[in-house]
């Protein structure tokens, strides 16, 4: 992976920190989308790799060409950094008229890292309409400390995203986001190919930082989400401030004094 690809801006990365995802509509070319179904139908096993991209996917292979799409490569570099580890891959298929949705969950296990995160790439090779069971996700849920499907009791939340998208859409997710495959009420198979990446470098200023002083960064990080309790929403902002401090190396960053106020202990040691 090179750094000559189009990187995300600071505002876009701040939006990722708040939302827990970065979505790129119809970014993958039609010829790759058409090729993908054959690749998927031939079988893609769930494999836990733990090795760098070039060791897992051969140069010129379908997945390498997917990861080399410039906007995908640039967004991945901006969030996870250069030379990430392929954690695992999985093909998710929602069969026509399946009986039930997946329980709302976060992948893997509870993950308390305050200054690092994995990124999950989700690729949708064909159009996903409203009845095809597009992935449910809950924007802004990724910093909540919950374990896998213990959130399964929650069926619907205000402001949830029930994905519909054009062919070739890629979504990059923070590992902690609550999500699940929805029930496919259509007569069409729905595919989604996922790769989880682990960082190999500190995730600090990996994007295009030319706009690091843009006031829209605070607006993005200070969002309230419709599903989030008002009081807990304030804690969410506090936690995003901490993550933004870690990702920028700027320990003084704050929004409306949320972090400064509760650390102010005049005359006391830290």
């Amino acid at each position: 992976m090179t750094t000559t690809v189009p990187l995300l801006s600071s505002v876009e990365v701040a939006r990722f920190v708040a939302n827990g995802f970065h979505r790129i509509n119809a970014v993958v070319p039609d010829d790759l989308n058409e090729e993908s179904i054959g690749v998927f139908d031939a079988g893609i096993p769930v494999v836990y790799h733990g090795r760098p991209v070039p060791e897992v996917y051969e140069e010129g292979s379908f997945v390498r060409r997917l990861l080399d799409v410039p906007a995908v490569a640039g967004a991945l570099h901006s969030l996870i950094g250069p030379d990430p580890i392929v954690d695992h891959q999985a093909l998710h298929v929602r069969e026509p008229r399946e009986g039930a949705a997946q329980a709302l969950h976060a992948d893997a296990i509870i993950d308390t890292r305050p200054d690092a995160f994995d990124v999950q790439l989700m690729y949708y090779p064909h159009e996903v309409t409203g009845t095809m069971g597009g992935t449910l996700s809950v924007p802004g849920s990724h910093l909540r400390r919950t374990n896998e499907s213990d959130t399964g009791r929650y069926q619907n939340l205000r402001g949830q995203s029930r994905l519909t998208c054009p062919a070739g859409t890629v979504v990059l997710l923070h590992h902690g986001i609550w999500h699940g495959g929805r029930r496919n009420d259509s007569g069409t198979r729905r595919y989604m190919f996922k790769i989880r990446f682990n960082p190999t470098v500190p995730q600090v200023r990996l994007w295009d930082t030319a706009d690091l002083d843009d006031p829209r960064i605070a607006q993005e990080l200070g969002r309230f989400f419709p599903w989030c309790e008002h009081a807990t929403g304030r804690l969410e902002i506090y936690n995003r401030i901490k993550l933004w401090r870690a990702m920028t190396g700027d320990a003084s960053f704050d929004i409306d004094l949320w972090a400064t106020r509760v650390a102010n202990r005049p005359g006391r040691a830290a």
């Binding site: 009986g99 709302l104 449910l136 910093l143 069926q155 939340l157 029930r162 929805r182 009081a231 807990t232």
Partner: protein, 86 residues
């Protein structure tokens, strides 16, 4: 008699606060609710559910944060279970 269970997650600990999230489990078998099947909550508040005949049978307690974890966020905080019998 068969039980229908409605779970509402409210904006704060007051029963008349806004519904933020919801789940429905139908013991009558007449409906098959599932994850991500609706963007619109069945009621705007807990009290609106009461007015429609739902009986409250459990509410989440107010538990102080664990020391050292005051800023952690986790599960939805204000969970209310209601039932109807048919």
């Amino acid at each position: 008699m068969k039980q229908q269970v409605l779970v509402l997650y409210l904006n704060n600990s007051a029963l008349d606060s806004e519904v933020l999230a919801w789940a429905f489990y139908d013991g009558t078998g007449k409906t098959e609710p599932t994850t991500g099947d609706s963007d619109q909550p069945p009621y705007d508040s807990g009290t609106e559910a009461l007015r429609d005949g739902w009986r409250l049978f459990q509410a989440s307690q107010l538990i102080p944060p664990y020391p050292g974890h005051e800023y952690d966020t986790s599960y939805m905080k204000h969970e209310f279970f209601f039932e109807k019998l048919e």
